[in-house]
Subunit: 441 residues, 4 copies
Amino acid sequence: MEKVLRDPIHNYIFIQHQIILDLINTREFQRLRRIRQLGTASSTFHGAEHSRFTHSVGVYEITRQICDLFQRNYPSKAKDDGLWDDHERLVALCAALLHDIGHGPYSHTFEHIFHTDHEAITAEILTSSTTEVNQVLRRVSADFPQEVASVIQKTYPNPQVVQMISSQIDADRMDYLLRDSYYTGTNYGTFDLTRILRVMRPYKEGITFHISGMHAVEDYIVSRFQMYQQVYFHPVSRSMEVILSHLLKRAQVLYENNELDTAITPHLLLPFFENNFCLSDYLKLDDGVLTTYFIHWCESPDKILNDLANRFLNRKPLKSARFNSQTARLLPKLRILVNEAGYNPEYYTATNDSYDLPYDAYDPTSQKRRTQIELMQDDGTLVELSTISNLVAAITGKVSGDERFFFPKEMLAESSQGEIFAPIYKKFQNYIKNGRITALK
Amino acid sequence: MEKVLRDPIHNYIFIQHQIILDLINTREFQRLRRIRQLGTASSTFHGAEHSRFTHSVGVYEITRQICDLFQRNYPSKAKDDGLWDDHERLVALCAALLHDIGHGPYSHTFEHIFHTDHEAITAEILTSSTTEVNQVLRRVSADFPQEVASVIQKTYPNPQVVQMISSQIDADRMDYLLRDSYYTGTNYGTFDLTRILRVMRPYKEGITFHISGMHAVEDYIVSRFQMYQQVYFHPVSRSMEVILSHLLKRAQVLYENNELDTAITPHLLLPFFENNFCLSDYLKLDDGVLTTYFIHWCESPDKILNDLANRFLNRKPLKSARFNSQTARLLPKLRILVNEAGYNPEYYTATNDSYDLPYDAYDPTSQKRRTQIELMQDDGTLVELSTISNLVAAITGKVSGDERFFFPKEMLAESSQGEIFAPIYKKFQNYIKNGRITALK
Amino acid sequence: MEKVLRDPIHNYIFIQHQIILDLINTREFQRLRRIRQLGTASSTFHGAEHSRFTHSVGVYEITRQICDLFQRNYPSKAKDDGLWDDHERLVALCAALLHDIGHGPYSHTFEHIFHTDHEAITAEILTSSTTEVNQVLRRVSADFPQEVASVIQKTYPNPQVVQMISSQIDADRMDYLLRDSYYTGTNYGTFDLTRILRVMRPYKEGITFHISGMHAVEDYIVSRFQMYQQVYFHPVSRSMEVILSHLLKRAQVLYENNELDTAITPHLLLPFFENNFCLSDYLKLDDGVLTTYFIHWCESPDKILNDLANRFLNRKPLKSARFNSQTARLLPKLRILVNEAGYNPEYYTATNDSYDLPYDAYDPTSQKRRTQIELMQDDGTLVELSTISNLVAAITGKVSGDERFFFPKEMLAESSQGEIFAPIYKKFQNYIKNGRITALK
Amino acid sequence: MEKVLRDPIHNYIFIQHQIILDLINTREFQRLRRIRQLGTASSTFHGAEHSRFTHSVGVYEITRQICDLFQRNYPSKAKDDGLWDDHERLVALCAALLHDIGHGPYSHTFEHIFHTDHEAITAEILTSSTTEVNQVLRRVSADFPQEVASVIQKTYPNPQVVQMISSQIDADRMDYLLRDSYYTGTNYGTFDLTRILRVMRPYKEGITFHISGMHAVEDYIVSRFQMYQQVYFHPVSRSMEVILSHLLKRAQVLYENNELDTAITPHLLLPFFENNFCLSDYLKLDDGVLTTYFIHWCESPDKILNDLANRFLNRKPLKSARFNSQTARLLPKLRILVNEAGYNPEYYTATNDSYDLPYDAYDPTSQKRRTQIELMQDDGTLVELSTISNLVAAITGKVSGDERFFFPKEMLAESSQGEIFAPIYKKFQNYIKNGRITALK
């Protein structure tokens, strides 16, 4: 039994276990087809409409290839010899496939507003007897669901398996860089996957890379940095997230005040408005459920809900300007001007605090040795990547400094003589120069 | 003013008119982001989740490139000289961008059940004063919306403009072949767009191609044929459409009989159930609206509605077997067996009549001269493509003969001894050989 | 021991036997780096400057992948069970790597003039004890060189091994289509190699393909047809071969008449002029040796040798026009006109007889069953490809009818009044219309 | 009149001036087809066999695209307005096409041994009345050859034209990165050419880039760095250059001592051995001429000439180890050991001094402001690239520190007991650890 799925990134995805095929066919996994991988990024890069389903099978495929290589070249011959024990294959493959199964629609924003936690939900989907995923996993053994969950939670005893799925250079990241690069149509995320796989090798403390592949690993790190700079942190996508966040917040506020239009009940969101949801409520959500309610809200009598829903559905992004620690003090003034121009700053401005960043940037500041990328020299000694790569050293431990203040595009309008808000716009614009907030002279 | 959109197929899409930018920003056009280009095809080719939005801007871009080439190389110098009059550019670009704007979710299936007509709706969106699209178009001139509509309806007087958008080799087809090929990850749809554009030239009766590009045109026709065979006619995608069609039909039947669960009203579908919808009702629909109702229907007390919704959302395709005019007579027997196995054949079987084919195959049987692809020789005489290409001749006028009978996968179950339906399954399976329905011996 | 070579087509080429590595390092194999795969084609497609070395390692790599797949999925369990016996791997790999080792510079033209035979030389390189290749092969066993030779000569008993290397769909053709397509920058030669490999399977009489891959096989055949039409048969490349052929012929005639400039002796060609060469003479030849002599001949006192050498080195192709069995009768008249214009027709005209075609086109007219492509249905029965593919049927058994007459470009000169040859040019041109030779009216 | 060449990198190369077409057809330009762009790099990356011809037409095409963009978006309206004057187009295109025309076979090595100077020769080819290139250029005007030469020599008054062809980010570098990346099959050299072209703009002091394209420019710099690290500085290719250099040196020494085999005179090299060559001597050289003599030298009675010729033709690279300023003091000891093992260290060892580096690495240490990459902000002010890019800053002004010592592979042989040189090998190997020369402990 071998099945294949056609995939634009890996050409084919090879399914060689009935368990894997059955996991893909569960309702919890099929649901990932209805949740876009990059959330609002497709409002900037229109090609990037791919779902978490495609990414998940991609992570599985890379993991499968790693297992094949490890088994061919580094099979364990004795307990604790630091080589690859192929009995770990199935748990690795399942963890790879399911590592994102707890994601819901626009996860990061949704979590922030409704206090859901996709990691906890992932664990619950694996271990709760109510799910089809759990039923498939239990066919392996009673403990197997918990084992798979522990890989995803990084508590699994074998660090090789954990690092395959979660480390600075893992199957997850390698797939999403290649995939997001392909779907956005940028080429920043490309790197030499084949070469990286070829130099990967298991050792006692996890996974290392032969030093002959240093440049391929370096290129991967640089590619990842560039994708964050160019795609994941794109200000337009972030502004659409700001709108989404404010829209959901407004709906909840209205609901709490009994002001949400009751003719059209957002049945599937109620458990979240009421902060009283169970797994089965969560699993009913997808991108389409949210946008369906937004379509209704476009006709809401509440001006703010109505307007934000329209902005989100019809892609009317906010504008933004960069600020830094010096110019942050100007933000209150700018908010006042936005308010004077008729926009409630609570719903129409935002600063991009770190919680808004949709992905964790490469940040090895927390110097836990195990997360570093270690390269193996010919004599078996290890050397940490940034000590031998100028490029990697350049971006190691640097926090990406793209702090932005978001505001309505209207604030940048060329103000014609008679316009009532013209003087306010002009004042506001005086604070913006070359895309940055700057003090008045 | 020149804006660009990043696009995986054309690299960049160049927007050079404010009108085009404003059309893209209308709510009717943004809505296309929420409607997948290939409907159920992503259930077979998981990468193909791209929307009608991406295709529409792609058709625009190809049309823009054709206009540029025509203007550079074949600018009209006198009325009726058969060369390119660049005053036609804007109407061509708008028609290209908007040619699919009347599509709704899963258009072909939806139309079949609810008697909507995406072509009529396209015209209405362009010409009804209620739409943002119309408001933008009217800024050009009062007649402009109707002019753009007439290009799409092929009644516009200049055949060059019409053939750019709709002919056997037009911007529409060229974009979708390249795009669907890219997103599915197959390579059947690739052909040499640059070369085809280079040999395209306007003449009095429309658009012709210099004979030096014959092989590029031939390759395009072959690619198109292969994409239909391999992607668009894929039996699994078609079976998902069968399920969708039966699901919508079941919902309507229940609604008409007042048996549809009233706790959860499918507000946005009611105008269609009641066959009493207006444009604004139609424009609220998208893929997510339908799947949101399907999520509710997964818990319907009606067994059939419930089951079909689950099959659609969780991708449980029907199986199929080919039949032909000889073996069609066996279908009633097969339907009886399906019924005996507990499945209502009205909802669990189907034959793939031509109306089910989601795209119009290359079919030049209707010998209207203007739709043929004409190649221009050095002395200016024309020659029809299939007269000089063996490959094209081979597929000219051939009806694609993939007639299929769809039925539940369970009918192919390996029947274990004790199974109650085992004898029925076995009988059924006797009729299927090498994927075809065959008479018993 | 596993080594890899970076390859633009296969990404990496995996070398897993010392024998293979040592064969690559022989002087006979390294020599292939100095012989271009496509001869004069780079005069039309300037990117196609790749050598026979790159193709040879590519054929090896595809064969290696086939062996891997066969061993994984269809390992023989009993003698004569029609499955894959992995003991055949090494002979298959060596034959794949070495199948073209007997080629010399511009083989087809050179053979025609000097009566060399690259197939016989291939066998000699393998089996003569004077070569490094033979020394490496003999390390396997005394018979091994002859075994490898017999695979290439198609007399090896196991038809699976023979068909891997030489059949209508073999590693040789699959590599050169992909490679020549990549280097020319056309995309006609692309097809889905992964899918074809996936459906390939051994059986008693050789290699078959599961019917589910029919469209991939069909696409390969169509791609091959298109590459011949578009690249391999390109008239400009063929005209450069005509020049080369006439140039070598002229040199030999002069040599035989003792009229070849003796200041500069073409040492390495003398054995061929004298028709008295041995293997070691042959192995000293490469593209650079020929062009080095041509550089000298550019200053030859013999006008024809001098002019043809200049035309070849500095790319001054002949022009050509198509003719057919009806218009062939006009050729003598055209030759007379060429002669009257001052060009010796023996050296300045040619017709493209079949011996000039540098590759053997797909031609299954010789209905030997073993060369047909057979597809295996689910029940194990076979069906021949062209019986189920309209596209393949269209080009099956068709002889490519591009017969051309070559002549100096000057014959097409726009004849200005005073030009002495103007009337002759004009007469000549009256016979050419739309690139074809046509009778005068 | 528009002609196209098929190109794998730019798809098509558009020839729109008769002058350009005629330049391509000159003997001096056609000769570039016989000189490989990357010299010995194809001994490491076998796919990289492309010629200087392909690169030259590529540089032309990028320059053509820049001119088109400048003319479309930034046409000069008044003298000295800092915008693009399209009268500069032809000189720019000719300089782009011809910038490398003075290269000979294995230029850098050849120059080092024979004191030729490809830049001076380029100027001579353009301005000497004996060349076909000069004759074509003079058709534009008497001064035109000198004008084109001055662009290449960077003395042309318009800095925009100069920087198009020679600057830190010019058409030359952009083409070779993309092309070498494609032909080697690595992907390090890829960057977003379209985007860079889009943000390029002329200004008074040359060419700048709008800051919105910063990341594309950054990516180009990083790609270039990676190509040098991975491809251009590859130790195996460099070792083949060492062999070539020693081989030519040996031939010259023998010639000077009248010890070079006189049966086979290397006619075309004599002017260089005698340091008395003219342009027409130089223009007869190409890769094939050199290798033809090497083929003869493989049978030379001189052991060293014979052996080095064999090593070069049959790819027997030297091995190498890195050293630094501390370990450089060990080199004399290593050379002594090489000598003791029977290899003349003058011909069998080398250190890779900078003159050996076949390409000039990115080196902005010479802080001439005009060569920096300047980005233009929205308000028109400029900012230097490395001040805003961490990645670029990381590699700015860093000298690539890959100093290597080359020696015969035999020195690393596993020494078996009885081997006479075993103790010497062992001593030698004690100095090499993890590929670096290290002091004994």
